[in-house]
Subunit: 395 residues, 2 copies
């Protein structure tokens, strides 16, 4: 006996999946009890040079009408053809495993329900944090916790760019260009540098932490890193901080979720997460704090997570698809969220005077930490204090 | 409907389990679909002051003959009465969830087999890393990987002592005393400071990484931290390192597994793991490197892991108990293991001369890194070079 699977989309991740299943087929067969066999690879192109060329088909019907297929790996990306194929597979009782954060974050509620109704699974460990186990630990290992907070570096491209700006003293444009040359950023880098990718991943993490009460990407305020200057980086270093793009979730009646660059204090473990690495800190009411760290992208790490899900789908009874609500739930509007920020000013005394309603802390002769100020009140304070700029702060 | 469980041993962890199940009962019931109810608490003492006093019984028969009990939580510790009760529960088809690393590491092969034969589970997420999800991620999320290496700080007591020695300049005896006063070390601290606790945890991690080919605690060489001096700490700092008690596993035909203090370079993420925290780095051939970090001990964090397993046992079909071999498999004898070490000497040139067969690197005017030297060859080299001391090194 063997378990036959199809790979939909033979790009970076899809080919990594075929590779991983092949190089580790001995241990996988031992663990599953059966061989996992890639029977079809569906793409719009043929790959005559690939050693998997024989498996490639351009005909979707051939894949979806094949009764042998138990699991489909959706590594197409985007939310159009991937959405159609995922619905088609799940509706036929074929479990789908994916790394597609856009699709999971935008269509998760519907796709999870289709899977449930058809007694199959929709699994997406690889959609957040690449190779880092985070989705299953949240669902399974921390199941007895109320998740109170998540703070993560979930986008490797921006973290790489920020690390290069720090270590090499590059400005943003040069660092981005270098990231593109090294294959760490797309030709059109917007989804990464504008925080959209992080926003999608945070939507997924937040919804899980929020016990399936769906928080959609478009509800989550996202600020990217393109406005970060070399001067900002130097300022951060002067107060023992580093600038990271942080995805933040906090539990509550109306949960908090936003993506923004933040000054991360060197006492925080996220301070040491550099280059393309990702890390996600999770606070649970019983757990305390835990951190999950690893390669947030890349062919093989992402394939590792996809393949973990394939094995899960292969050996398990149809996964208890933990429902996501169809409609998104209300979250705290960004303006109303109270944040800790650092205000940079030539005359700190003026900031302290203007911020007397808040708990403040002097970090340096030009940096004042102001705690718990609502976003909507920041502009007035900055203006009143004659300050230069402000940024989120993570202790 | 409800799922009834029994807690065996109402000490620190057992009471934390009762507490966690109670404070989070709403989310747990939602996630499991049924309430989890603690029906019995078995101990040799009564706890009249506890709010769970009514549940406490001294009569084991009352617990094990109760057909309502689906899951037993073994938080007794040790390998005597805990062993008897675990066998009795599993033989009756009652799943057992535990934090007992001594029992899992010494009797795991037998207990896993009994569980399998009786169609129930033996789960032990809490036995390693306290609240940190590590066992299930290794089994599930990284299932498609060959695990090539594990390097971890798995004992919070020794890490706390070493952190205090570093930060406060205390000597070992004073730091140990302080740890005992603060409840971070036992009155009899041997299991922690001599590396025995770490040895047991490494036995569990190594056996899982080694695909169930059992590596017993007594096969694993363990050196503790009681010989570490303030002078060693200062030396470590002088070469940008910190001393940590490291549990190391490396895959191979004859795997490598040992516990020893090591100089950890500041570029390594484990360098920043301080106090009672634990962290486990895992290398997989597809994953690359990942790290799992969190509170390695403590009532609620450990209870978090135990309760995660309770929920797993409650909702899942009997867990595919991944067999451990009955007999332990051969590992590389400690003497034959090639290690990276730092030799401390007044005349580094003499070390380099004596170590010409090895790749060396000068770290300071009294520290030479020697790579890949077998343990059995170290004493001769140290003597020949007229060196003061040596220690393992982790980049």
């Amino acid at each position: 006996m063997a378990i036959n699977i199809a790979i939909l989309g033979f790009g970076t991740v899809g080919s990594g999946v075929a590779e991983t299943l092949d190089i580790n087929k001995d241990v996988i067969a031992k663990r599953v009890g059966e061989e996992i066999i890639v029977k079809h690879i569906l793409d719009v192109r043929e790959f005559p040079e690939s050693r998997f060329a024989d498996l490639v088909t351009l005909d979707a019907d051939e894949v979806f009408t094949d009764k042998d297929i138990k699991i489909a790996v959706e590594t197409i990306g985007g939310a159009r053809i991937a959405y159609e194929y995922t619905k088609r597979a799940l509706s036929s009782g074929i479990s789908v495993v994916t790394s597609n954060k856009e699709l999971v974050s935008t269509k998760g509620p519907e796709l999870i329900e289709i899977a449930k109704n058809n007694n199959c699974c929709y699994l997406f460990e690889a959609a957040v944090g690449g190779g880092i186990p985070i989705i299953r630990p949240l669902y399974k290992c921390l199941a007895a916790n109320k998740i109170t907070k998540i703070a993560g570096i979930v986008n490797g491209t921006t973290n790489y760019i920020l690390s290069q700006m720090k270590d090499e003293g590059l400005d943003f444009v040069t660092a981005l260009k270098q990231a593109q040359e090294n294959g760490f950023a797309e030709a059109n880098p917007s989804a990464d540098i504008d925080g959209i990718d992080a926003q999608r991943k945070l939507s997924i993490l937040s919804t899980i932490a929020n016990d399936g009460d769906y928080i959609a990407p478009e509800q989550i305020s996202a600020e990217g890193i393109s406005a970060i200057t070399t001067d900002d980086m130097a300022f951060a270093a002067s107060i023992g901080c580093d600038i990271k793009l942080i995805a933040l979730y906090e539990a509550g009646e109306k949960p908090v979720a936003y993506v923004a660059p933040a000054l991360v204090d060197k006492s925080n473990l996220l301070y040491n997460v550099n280059g393309v690495f990702n890390a996600i800190m999770v606070d649970g009411n019983s757990l305390g704090q835990a951190m999950f760290y690893g390669q947030g992208a890349g062919t093989l790490p992402t394939a590792s997570a996809v393949c973990g899900d394939i094995l899960e789908a292969a050996v398990s009874e149809p996964y208890e698809n933990r429902d996501w609500t169809k409609e998104s739930v209300e979250i705290t509007p960004y303006d109303e969220i109270a944040a800790d920020i650092v205000i940079r000013a030539d005359v700190p005394a003026k900031v302290i005077g203007a911020a007397e309603a808040y708990e403040c802390e002097v970090l340096s002769d030009e940096a004042i930490l102001v705690k718990g100020i609502r976003h909507k009140d920041i502009a007035a304070l900055v203006s009143e204090a004659g300050a230069k700029s402000w940024m989120h702060y993570l202790k």
